[in-house]
């Protein structure tokens, strides 16, 4: 009996605290969940703030991290303000899930990973300052707890060799980024393998949320910085980690897709991508400039392996299009046809397009106004531009799926796809068929048309088929038809109300529709003083840019600054802008002023153009080029200078220039009739993607254009 009592005493002594701790952990977990539910049910900003503060004040231990992450993931999409979202992102990042000891069933993937030292031995000759010896990613796909496909666990191994002192300097810091709502990051290795056999662990930073306040963009992504101390030439750096699903449910309900580019900023010896999936799961791969996968089937699983070896580094050059334009890539998706893609995205989009009472009232008001189709579209577009600020909450599925229009209306903010969805919903409500258009902007680089996934797109706009018109809700000052430069030339996938998807290319605005026209009439007095009247018209998206600039800028001061580059003594007497309302198709600046162009002597010089474009400096500064040049959309520019010369003035007219190539068109003409001197210039640059092999010719065109436009007219006063 006594022995039993002693045993019972021992049990109580050792087990009770454990039970107590477990109970406390359970109670904290319950508390976190309770705060989450109360937050989601809260109806006022004050209540929500209070619950966020409560969450923040909890004493969170590492075992609570999973519960906290779940709560934050549920709360983030419901946040109604930037402050709430930022606070939640900070709370989540301060308590990341992902301790190795808590991870279970991690795949070793020994068939696919490589040994760092052996990889280094095999790579005899060093290439570059740093080279990637191996970059391997294995995606294990399985069904989620509801039996849907596409739940993914990733295993990543990256090995680099440091080949120079400079390489050691530039490589000492690496970051790993992951999506906190979908993934949990487990680091296996972050280490330096020294030549002498020593192993040095990296210093690992706390997780940081990714937010870009400057562009009002907020993400559920986090970064973890890895610092490798004491790097020397010959060292190997190895990173290995797992990205496990943060929940047992695939938030994309059966969908999985990835786009992997096979070229990076370092030369790469081996890039290997492996997908292990149930054999019953359909996967569609697009292998662009890659060898087809090696496929193995075993135990009901299909393993697909793609490899590329000895890949050059991507050269760092400005105005390079996205790497998909020039790099090998692999695109994998559960969707293999445009019909399927349309149906699937429509199922994400359509339920959120229900109008609120407020939006219905707006639609009714537009309907009552008895407008033409164009008028209705204009009214809807301006309504959304004015009522919805650009703030992007890219949380979870909302990185690709718009928030419900009702939520965007209540918040008063949204990103490109939220605005596009609201435009589509309102247009349909006023009887104008409209489609939601996902856009891969030109700068992101082209992809082949056989690939279907939302991951390919980085922008969204609305499309009106009846008018063949795209509406970018993020272009605050744009009127109908004035599309931002980077949208033009983009690849779009539009989805209509019935879920039909159509692939389209957004056309470039013509040079006539995207134009700056400047007419200057100047009277040159015998004493060298010039009185001028300038009229500048902006058409197309550059009119929208002027509307924006004029809202906050000093017009006279700005114009003075433009002229002062060439004529430092310029004085502006009068400056006015017309057509700044969006209904106007063009903005016109009227500026009158004077310049004292004589600085001693009787000879004066007049510029042929006020366009100090410097095409070479802007678009072709390098002598040689490895990547293509993405020439941006710029307006065509037409200038006419009419000078009244004083009697007896002598003029030396430079030669005319007419230059027309595939890259663009430059015309500069000079004419004199009695006391009238006319200088006329025209500049047009084609928004091409200039191949590296054509760069020399493109640069020569830019040089010739600069030379022609910068030519001066010498006038000798009587």
């Amino acid at each position: 009996m006594t022995r039993q009592k002693v045993f019972a005493g021992f049990l109580l002594f050792f087990l009770l605290p454990a039970v107590g701790f477990a109970a406390q952990a359970q109670s904290r977990s319950d508390k976190i969940q309770s705060i989450e539910l109360q937050y989601l049910a809260a109806t006022t900003p004050a209540q929500r703030k209070q619950f966020v503060n409560e969450l923040k004040s909890l004493n969170i231990l590492s075992e609570d991290a999973a519960a906290l992450n779940r709560a934050v993931s549920a709360m983030l999409p419901a946040a109604d303000s930037v402050e709430e979202a930022e606070e939640l992102l900070r709370i989540g990042a301060a308590n990341p899930v992902g301790r190795m000891e808590s991870a279970s069933n991690l795949s070793s993937d020994t068939d696919f990973l490589v040994n760092a030292q052996r990889a280094a031995l095999a790579a005899h000759r060093a290439i570059g300052e740093v080279e990637a010896l191996a970059d391997i990613r294995i995606d294990h796909l399985r069904k989620d707890s509801l039996g849907r496909d596409g739940l993914v666990s990733a295993h990543v191994q990256q090995i680099w060799r440091i080949n120079s002192v400079h390489g050691a300097k530039i490589f000492s810091l690496r970051s790993v980024m992951y999506s906190s709502m979908a993934e949990t990051l487990y680091m296996v290795h972050a280490r330096v393998l020294k030549n002498d056999g020593r192993e040095l662990e990296a210093k690992i930073s706390a997780d940081l949320p990714v937010l870009e306040r400057s562009t009002s963009m907020y993400f559920d992504s986090r970064t973890r910085d890895l610092y490798f101390p004491q790097l020397d030439p010959g060292d190997l750096v190895e990173i290995e980690y797992h990205l496990l699903p943060a929940s047992d449910l695939n938030p994309w309900a059966g969908y999985y897709a990835r786009m992997d580019l096979f070229r990076d900023s370092f030369p790469t010896r081996l890039r290997r991508r492996v997908v292990v999936a149930p054999s019953t799961m359909k996967l569609f791969a697009v292998e662009h400039r890659l060898r087809p996968a090696v496929v193995r089937q075993r135990n009901g699983e299909t393993t697909r392996i793609w490899e590329a070896r000895d890949i050059d580094a991507q050269a760092f050059e400005a105005l390079t299009p996205g790497a998909s334009a020039s790099s090998p890539y692999l695109h994998i998706s559960t969707i293999g046809s445009i019909e399927e893609f349309g149906r699937w995205y429509s199922s994400l989009l359509e339920p959120g397009l229900q109008l609120t009472e407020n939006l219905r009232a707006i639609a009714n008001k537009i309907l009552e106004s008895d407008l033409t189709t164009w008028g209705k579209v204009q009214a809807v577009y301006e309504t959304v531009q004015r009522s919805t600020k650009y703030i992007a909450f890219e949380f979870g599925v909302h990185s690709y799926q718009p928030y419900a229009v009702a939520k965007v209306d209540r918040r008063g903010f949204g990103d490109c796809k939220d605005k596009a969805a609201m435009i589509v919903a309102l247009l349909r409500a006023v009887g104008v068929p409209a489609e939601f258009a996902m856009v891969r902007t030109r700068s992101a680089g082209e992809v082949v048309p056989e690939a279907y996934s939302v991951q390919l797109f980085n922008h969204a706009v609305a499309y009106v088929p009846a008018l063949d018109l795209y509406l970018d809700g993020t272009a605050d000052y744009a009127a109908l038809g004035e599309l931002p430069p980077d949208d033009q030339g983009g690849q779009a996938m539009t989805v209509d109300a019935r879920g039909n998807a159509t692939r389209r290319t957004i056309t470039f605005a013509s040079p006539e529709a995207n134009r700056v026209s400047r007419e200057i009439h100047a009277h040159l007095a015998p004493d060298g003083r010039v009185e001028f009247q300038s009229r500048t018209k902006y058409e197309g998206y550059f009119a929208a840019e002027q509307r924006r600039t004029l809202e906050s800028n000093d017009l006279a001061g700005s114009y003075r600054a433009t002229l002062a580059q060439f004529y430092p003594t310029v004085k502006i007497a009068h400056a006015v802008a017309e057509g700044t309302a969006r209904a106007s198709r063009e903005v016109e600046l009227k500026i009158d002023g004077s310049i004292d162009v004589v600085h001693g002597g009787r000879e004066i010089t007049l510029r042929s153009s006020l366009n100090a474009a410097g095409l070479t400096n802007k678009y072709a500064p390098e002598r040689l080029r490895k990547n293509p040049v993405l020439v941006p959309v710029i307006p065509s520019e037409h200038e006419v200078f009419d000078y009244d010369l004083p009697e007896g003035a002598e003029v030396a007219l430079p030669p005319d220039t007419k230059l027309e190539t595939a890259f663009g068109k430059i015309e500069v003409t000079y004419s004199r009739q009695a006391s009238k001197l006319r200088v006329e210039t025209y500049r047009e640059l084609a928004p091409l993607t200039v191949a590296a092999s054509d760069y020399a010719a493109f640069r020569a065109f830019c040089n010739a254009a600069d030379k022609a436009l910068q030519r001066e007219v010498k006038v000798v006063l009587p």
Binding site: S172, S214, F219, A318, G322, E394, S552, G614, P621
Partner: protein, 221 residues
């Protein structure tokens, strides 16, 4: 976007009122900056400074002159060269001094020397139009953009000085002519208007595998 950038730079420039009274610190080399970054999160600071329009990477020339007051009025080689070229600095220029907080300081061995120094940097302006140059310094300094004098700070000036200049998009050289007394200093370049609420549609500077990964995490935005 620009409102925030402007607020950032004003905060960084104005709140640090004690800047000019501080002892000059040795500038970090590239590797030191990176090393420091890992310890105290200075990478983030570097990004924040750049985001705020502050110039963080510099090349130093000097000192010039004989330590006389009138030296500052003279044009020494870097200035003459800059005016002659009146173009943007070439990619071959090395900007070996990195200041994550955007605060340029002279190396200790030069901080107490008399004479004239030139600090050169390079920036990419993403739009044609007007730009505002900010200078915070405690001494005599001149700032040139592409060889053109944009802002002058004489000995009696106080506070953060600003000057508007016009520039086209592309690379531009920025050069500060200064005496040791003017260091540490900070230079920022920002657009004057702040109405933009739309996402930045600037073409990618470079596309790479990591960009695509980043794009995937960003989504359609």
């Amino acid at each position: 976007m620009r409102i925030v950038r402007w607020v950032c730079v004003v905060t960084l420039l104005v709140l640090d009122a004690g800047l000019t009274a501080q002892t000059a610190t040795r500038p970090a080399t590239h590797s030191e900056a990176l090393s420091a970054a890992a310890n105290v999160g200075e990478t983030e600071l570097l990004d924040a400074s750049r985001e705020a329009g502050l110039l963080t990477e510099w090349h130093l020339d000097g000192r010039f002159g004989h330590g006389k007051r009138k030296d500052f009025a003279r044009r020494f080689t870097p200035e003459r060269e800059a005016m002659k070229q009146a173009t943007r600095s070439g990619p071959e220029t090395q900007y070996e001094l990195i200041f994550p907080d955007g605060k340029f300081s002279l190396p200790k061995n030069l901080a107490s020397q008399k004479g004239v120094f030139y600090a050169s940097s390079r920036t990419y302006l993403d739009n044609d139009g007007d730009w505002i140059l900010y200078l915070e310094s405690g001494g005599e300094a001149e700032v040139f953009v592409d060889g053109q004098l944009v802002l002058t700070r004489d000995l009696n000036a106080s506070g953060v000085l600003r000057a508007k200049f016009h520039a086209n998009s592309g690379y531009h050289s920025v050069m500060v002519k200064f005496t040791a007394r003017a260091a540490p200093f900070r230079v920022a370049i920002l657009p004057p208007n702040s109405g933009s609420r739309r996402k930045n549609n600037t073409p990618y500077v470079q596309g790479s595998a990591s960009d695509e990964m980043l794009a995937a995490l960003r989504g359609i935005s």
